[in-house]
C-alpha cells in the first residue's frame, strides 16, 4: 500500500511535507520500473530547484532518468548514503532511499500534487 502521509507526482516522485520543509524521493513503482539503481546524482546543497524541473539524475542498469522536483525551494540536505549505496532507492524507496530535503519557497504548489488515493488510481490507468 502507498504511504498515506505523502504526496505524489505523475513522474512518480513522492514528497513528505513538514511545515515549510519537504523531503523528496521516488516511488516504489518508479524504482521497480528502473531496475537496479547504480548511481544517484544528488543536487548541490543550497541549490534552488523549481517545481516540475529536473533536479537529479538516477542511473539504473536500464537507463539514466531525470528526477523532477515535486515542489520549489532550496536544498537543505541530501542523502549522502546514496553515494555508496544507491541500492537503497530499490530497497527502501520511501524511507532510506530519500534523495533530498528542501525549504519550500511556495508551499501552495502542493495543491497540484496527488494524494495516495489519487496516485493509486493514476497507477491503475497506466496498467491499462
Amino acid at each position: 500500500m502507498l504511504p498515506e502521509n505523502l504526496k505524489y507526482t505523475k513522474e512518480h516522485e513522492w514528497v513528505k511535507i513538514d511545515n515549510d520543509q519537504a523531503t523528496f524521493g521516488i516511488t516504489e513503482h518508479a524504482q521497480s520500473e528502473m531496475g537496479d539503481v547504480t548511481f544517484v546524482e544528488l543536487p548541490e546543497k543550497e541549490a534552488s530547484i523549481e517545481q516540475s524541473k529536473a533536479f537529479s539524475t538516477i542511473e539504473s542498469v536500464k537507463a539514466a532518468s531525470e528526477i523532477y522536483a515535486p515542489l520549489s525551494g532550496s536544498v537543505t540536505d541530501t542523502n549522502e548514503e546514496l553515494i555508496n549505496k544507491p541500492e537503497l532507492i530499490n530497497e527502501s524507496p520511501y524511507e532510506k532511499g530519500w534523495i533530498c530535503k528542501i525549504k519550500l519557497s511556495n508551499p501552495a504548489e502542493a495543491d497540484k500534487l496527488m494524494d495516495a488515493m489519487a496516485y493509486q488510481q493514476y497507477l491503475e490507468t497506466l496498467k491499462k
Binding site: 548511481f39 546524482e41 542511473e59 539504473s60 542498469v61 536500464k62 537507463a63 539514466a64 531525470e66
Partner: protein, 438 residues
C-alpha cells in the same frame, strides 16, 4: 561505378522500379546541390581495368613521397613498426562492428579496455574513454564536458593551443551558448565565471611548460583544467596528472598511425574518476560473468545516445576502434622503456637541429624556452617562400606559421623525430643555409 556488370537495360529496369521512369540516374542525387555532387573522375569511358589501374598509378606517382619531412604542427612522422599493420589488419579486428553485443565481441572489447588502460598509464589519469575521432573533436568534447561539470560557459584558451584544433572547436560550437577567450595569460582573465582553461603541452610552438601553479589557481577559482598533450612526449615529460589537470585529451596519431591528409586519426580523452559520468563516448569495462569468468563489456551505456536520445552526454556514440587498436599495439610493442627512448631520441635530435640552425646567419631562434621535439625559427624572408624552395631540394622544411598567425609570416615551425639521422639534419641545415645566403 562502371565496373559493376549491370547492362544499360539492367540499370534502366532498376531505376524504373524505384520510380525514375526516364532512367536518369542523376535524379537519385537531386537532394544534394549540384555543386556539391561528385563530378567526373576524369577517366575516359571504355577503359578496361588494367588501363584504369595504370592511369591511377600514374597519378599517384606524381606525389613526391621521398621528401625528408620536418613538418609537425600536431602530426608527427614517427616510425611505425610493421607488426602494427599485420596485427591491426587481421579480419577479426578489421571487420568488427560496434561491440554492443559483448558475448560476440570479447576481442574488440578487450582491445579497447587495454587501450584505455594504456592511455591511463601514459597520462597518469584514472579513466579513459574508448577514443574520439581526433585531437580537434577531443578539444570540443572536453569543453562540453567542462560545461556539464561546472554549469558555466566561459572558456579561456591559451594561445598555445593548436590552431587546427581551435578551428575544429569553433566549428563545432558555432551555435552553442559558449564564450571563448583566447589569451597568452590565462591567470589574468581567470574568474569565478570560468568553466575551464584550455592548455596544451608542449604547446603548438613546441614549448614545454609546467602548468602546476596555473592549474592550482584555476581550481581555486572553481574552473576545471583541460590539457591537450602529445602522447609520445609523455615518455619523458611530467604527466598532466602530476600537474593536476582534470580532463586530458590529445591527438594519438603519433602512436602508430600513418600521416595522411585528413585522417583517419585518433583522439583520446582521460579524466579523474569523479568526472567519469560526465565523460562522453563509450567506455569498455571489465566484469565477471554468471560463471565467475573475466569478461569485457561496454559500461556506463545508459548515458549514450542509443539509450538516452537527445539527453545523451554526447552525440558521438562512436569511437575509432581500429586506430585505437593501432595505438595500443604501438604502446605495447615499445613498452615503457621504448616510449621513453623514442621521446628522448626525438628531443635530443631536435636539440641538435636547434643548435646547428641557430648558427646559420639570418636565422633567429629563441633558445631560452625549453622545447620537446619542435621549435620555431625566424627567417629573414617569408617562410612559405623557403618551404617551396626547400621542396626542390628534397625537404619538407616545416610549417609556415603565417598560415595561422598574421605577425609570423617569417616564422617556421620545425619538427624532429627519432627517424631523422644526424646526416639528414645536417643536410637540411646546409640546404637552408645555401638558400638564405643566395
Amino acid at each position: 561505378m562502371s565496373y559493376i556488370s549491370n547492362t544499360q537495360d539492367d540499370k534502366l529496369k532498376m531505376l524504373q522500379a524505384i520510380g525514375i521512369k526516364d532512367g536518369d540516374a542523376e535524379k537519385l542525387f537531386k537532394d544534394i546541390p549540384k555543386d556539391l555532387r561528385a563530378r567526373s573522375f576524369n577517366i575516359q569511358p571504355g577503359k578496361n581495368e588494367y588501363e584504369v589501374t595504370q592511369h591511377v598509378k600514374g597519378l599517384a606517382e606524381k606525389n613526391n613521397t621521398r621528401l625528408i619531412s620536418f613538418l609537425g604542427a600536431g602530426y608527427y612522422d614517427h616510425f611505425i613498426p610493421a607488426a602494427i599493420d599485420a596485427l591491426a589488419s587481421r579480419s577479426e579486428f578489421y571487420t568488427a562492428y560496434t561491440p554492443y553485443q559483448s558475448e560476440a565481441s570479447q576481442g574488440t572489447l578487450q582491445a579497447i579496455y587495454e587501450y584505455q588502460s594504456a592511455i591511463c598509464r601514459l597520462t597518469g589519469m584514472d579513466v579513459a574513454n574508448a577514443s574520439l575521432y581526433d585531437g580537434g573533436t577531443a578539444v570540443f568534447e572536453a569543453t562540453m564536458m567542462a560545461m556539464r561539470i561546472t554549469k558555466k560557459s566561459k572558456f579561456l584558451i591559451d594561445s598555445g593551443l593548436n590552431p587546427i584544433h581551435k578551428k575544429i572547436l569553433y566549428t563545432h560550437s558555432d551555435n552553442l551558448p559558449v564564450d571563448f577567450k583566447e589569451t597568452s595569460d590565462v591567470n589574468k582573465l581567470l574568474d569565478d565565471k570560468t568553466a575551464a582553461i584550455i592548455l596544451q603541452n608542449p604547446n603548438f610552438f613546441g614549448t614545454i611548460t609546467d602548468y602546476t601553479d596555473i592549474i592550482k589557481k584555476a581550481h581555486n577559482a572553481g574552473a576545471v583544467v583541460i590539457m591537450s598533450v602529445y602522447p609520445l612526449s609523455l615518455g619523458i615529460l611530467k604527466t598532466p596528472a602530476e600537474m593536476g589537470a582534470d580532463i586530458v585529451i590529445g591527438e594519438c596519431q603519433s602512436l602508430g598511425i600513418p600521416l595522411s591528409f585528413g585522417g583517419p586519426y585518433l583522439g583520446f580523452m582521460a579524466t579523474k574518476k569523479e568526472y567519469v559520468r560526465k565523460m562522453p563516448g563509450r567506455i569498455a569495462g571489465v566484469t565477471t560473468d554468471a560463471l565467475g569468468r573475466r569478461g569485457f563489456v561496454l559500461t556506463l551505456q545508459t548515458r549514450e545516445q542509443h539509450i538516452r536520445r537527445e539527453k545523451a552526454t554526447s552525440n558521438i556514440c562512436s569511437n575509432q576502434a581500429l586506430c585505437a587498436l593501432r595505438a595500443l599495439i604501438y604502446m605495447c610493442l615499445l613498452g615503457k622503456e621504448g616510449l621513453k627512448k623514442v621521446a628522448q631520441s626525438s628531443a635530443v635530435k631536435a636539440e641538435y637541429a636547434k643548435n646547428i640552425l641557430s648558427k646559420i646567419k639570418g636565422i633567429k631562434l629563441e633558445k631560452t624556452l625549453p622545447t620537446f621535439n619542435e621549435f620555431v625559427i625566424e627567417l629573414p624572408v617569408k617562410a612559405d617562400k623557403i618551404t617551396q624552395k626547400m621542396q626542390d631540394k628534397g625537404f619538407i622544411a616545416g610549417f609556415p606559421l603565417g598560415r595561422f598567425y598574421d605577425n609570423m609570416e617569417k616564422h617556421l615551425l620545425v619538427a624532429v623525430t627519432e627517424k631523422h639521422t644526424k646526416q639528414q639534419i645536417d643536410r637540411y641545415a646546409k640546404a637552408l643555409e645555401l638558400l638564405l645566403c643566395n
